[in-house]
Amino acid sequence: MTAALAFDLLLVAALVWSAARALTVADVFRGVVLFIVFGLLMALAWARLGAPDIALAEAAIGAGLTGALLLDAVGHLRAKREPGP
Amino acid sequence: MIDTWLPVGVVLSSFLPGLFIFFLAESRIRLRTALNLIGALAKLALIGVMLWGVLNDHEYVFRHTVLPGLDLVLKADALALLFVTLSAVLWLFTTLYAIGYLEGAPHRSRFFGFFSLCVTATVGVAMAGNLFTFFVFYELLTLATYPLVVHRGTEQAMRAGHVYLGYTLGGGALLLVGTVWLYGLAGQADFVHGGSLAALPPETAGQLQVVFLLLIAGVGVKAALVPLHGWLPLAMVAPAPVSALLHAVAVVKAGAFGIVRIVYEVYGVEFAQSLDLLTPLAIAAAVTIIWGSLRALFQDDLKKRLAYSTVSQVSYIALGVALFGPLGTIGGLVHLVHQGIMKITLFFCAGNYAETLGIHKISEMDGAGRRMPWTSLAFTLGAFGMIGVPPLAGFVSKWYLGLGALEAGMPWVLAVLAASSLLNAAYFLPVLHRIWFRPAPSAWPAEHIPQRGRWETAPLLLLPPLATAAAILLVGLFAASAFSPLDWAKLIADREYLQWTP
């Protein structure tokens, strides 16, 4: 029980930390990466809450697809910032 | 069934042609004229039927519930018909005049469309059966007249329109607040003989006084009570037929008529007297009469002088209402009609001078009588009537107002009447002197319409003022006969003071 609680507390801390860092880290790309990490941590949290359906969806859609979209947008942004040769 | 729809028919007889004209192509002159005249004649016919019925103690009432506890009521009683008949007759003349006046001018469909709406609103005001209905048409009147005031589209007209809107919408807002308040206190506020508010509990008296102030201020804007009159002299930039209608029938009369309805049929004249509301109203009217006349003295612009004269003359109506007793009432009501006939004649004539010879200022009028004798004759009759020369229309009004003042125990009103008549003479007689006794200049300011045989100007411009001028004489001469305005005013006064014995 205590091990589980410790795990939960650690997970919660990681969730809050990754969320806060995703928004505050200087580089947008790293922010997006941290957000994907956050999404995966969320999937873990859902599993801990006995919600495997959400865990699956979160991993696939929340972290996966959202992450892909965001990464693509960052790439686009960078391409704009640094005009090609 | 038909009784219910007659009042609606009177309203629709100008509304429907108006709507139709609105969307008519500019070039469809014949159709437009036909619609105008059919509407005007149909209205007169309907009114004729109702006149007969009302004389025989019949009332025509149409009622439609708009919201729970809020009815739209059109009612043709004696008082309504006094005003409706005046509006319908003068509308016919003004329409004819306007057709002549605007020949070849742009935007005529728009003009006649709003012109018809304006008359619709006026007859609606006349036949409103309760305060709410009155308010509805009173606001419609504002909206219908604004495009007419700014019709010329000049900078000056736009500014006048702005001022006009500011005053009238502000007045409408006051009227609205007063009306809502009154409905809250009394439920409905139907117009009934002797008023309906006397039955309210005495502790509401203070509120009723405030409401009265709101209502009178609301209608006082259109009636041009000083200091709410600022829009009227500016609004004379409108085309002459509009000024004629505005000053004689539509706008200022709607305000004055509102005062009549509020005092007699909402509050009841005795109840208003018991709330000490009539004396302040009489004072406001007296101040307006004197102030308007004084300002008129100093105007060189003919239409402006006439406008200030209107400010002064319309308050005779309010004064008559404020004089407690049937004689004052008769004087006020009959002046509602008489002032309309006289003032419309004067504005028609002013329009003729401007259109024919380009005369806008009094200083340019020297010798105009020789070039335009018929117009000048009509103008002279109108001016004498205003001064109160017997046996013209204005004399009858002033006579009854004087008697009413004595009956009400307000002899100071006599002094006001006398002073006002002197001032009337002071600002009209010099004009007449110029017209008839000064030599004509070598050239007129801008002669638009040349003399053609016996016609000093376009026939449609000449005939309406001649007709109304004749009416000035006739209503004075035959004041005592049946169906004369005076006779009708007596009928109304009888019914309003049914329970009252001096």
Binding site: P52, D53, L56, A60, I61, L65, A68, L69, D72 | -
Partner: protein, 218 residues
């Protein structure tokens, strides 16, 4: 934005968190117990996985609207992508093409499995659709699917299929009861039918959100 405003916003957010926390620590016993009701009616729902029962039967109406939200989002993305007419897909690396040819069918199989298992265990149309979307993206990147910015009739039909089937089933049962009231005997079959349609459409839509969105002219 000024520092004062920023401080105020942070304070507001912190206050909200504190209020939420306080409120959560002081909750009454809920008056209604839905899990028990779900369990009681699970037998009539046509599936035996409670979440799927809620998603596609008890609260299937939410799901129906949500599918519409998803399709709508794609419509919005397409509206934005529109001005930049579809670019010819860049020729993909042959290795990628081979990989896509190998993996995509596998992913379709997985999707089918997830769809099937959804009636009894975690899984279902959304998860299956996500896998399908991944396959779609892969195929597109390999140049094996047509452009997305201006989907053709077939593709539009595929995108709309799930929602149309859902709506059709929802109103088809109106004659015997209310909206989406499946006849108990047919519930399982109808749910599977809807889910099959949804899987395809969700897969296409999710893929489209990625592909149409990223095809916007640089």
């Amino acid at each position: 934005m000024s520092r004062a405003v920023a401080a105020l916003v942070v304070l507001l957010a912190a206050g909200l968190a504190a209020a939420l926390g306080l409120a959560m620590l002081d909750l009454p016993e809920p008056a209604v117990r839905l899990p028990a009701r779900v369990a009681a009616k699970l037998g009539d729902s046509g599936v035996d996985h409670p979440v799927t029962a809620v998603l596609l039967n008890f609260r299937a109406y939410d799901t129906l609207l949500e599918v519409a939200v998803l399709l709508l989002a794609l419509v919005g993305v397409l509206a934005l992508a529109r001005p930049h007419a579809a670019r010819a897909a860049a020729p993909a690396h042959p290795l990628l093409q081979t990989l896509a040819r190998l993996v995509a069918p596998l992913m379709v199989l997985v999707a089918g499995y997830l769809l099937w298992i959804g009636a009894h265990a975690p899984g279902g149309a959304f998860q299956a659709g996500a896998v399908l979307a991944a396959a779609g993206v892969l195929l597109r990147l390999a140049g094996l699917l047509p452009a997305w910015a201006q989907p053709g009739l077939l593709l539009r039909g595929g995108l709309a299929l799930g929602l149309l089937v859902f709506v059709a089933v929802a109103v088809a049962v109106l004659g015997q009861g209310s909206l989406l009231q499946y006849p108990p005997a047919a519930a399982g079959g109808l749910i599977l039918l809807i889910e099959a349609g949804l899987t395809l459409s969700i897969g296409l839509t999710l893929a489209g959100l990625y592909l149409a969105g990223t095809e916007v002219e640089p």
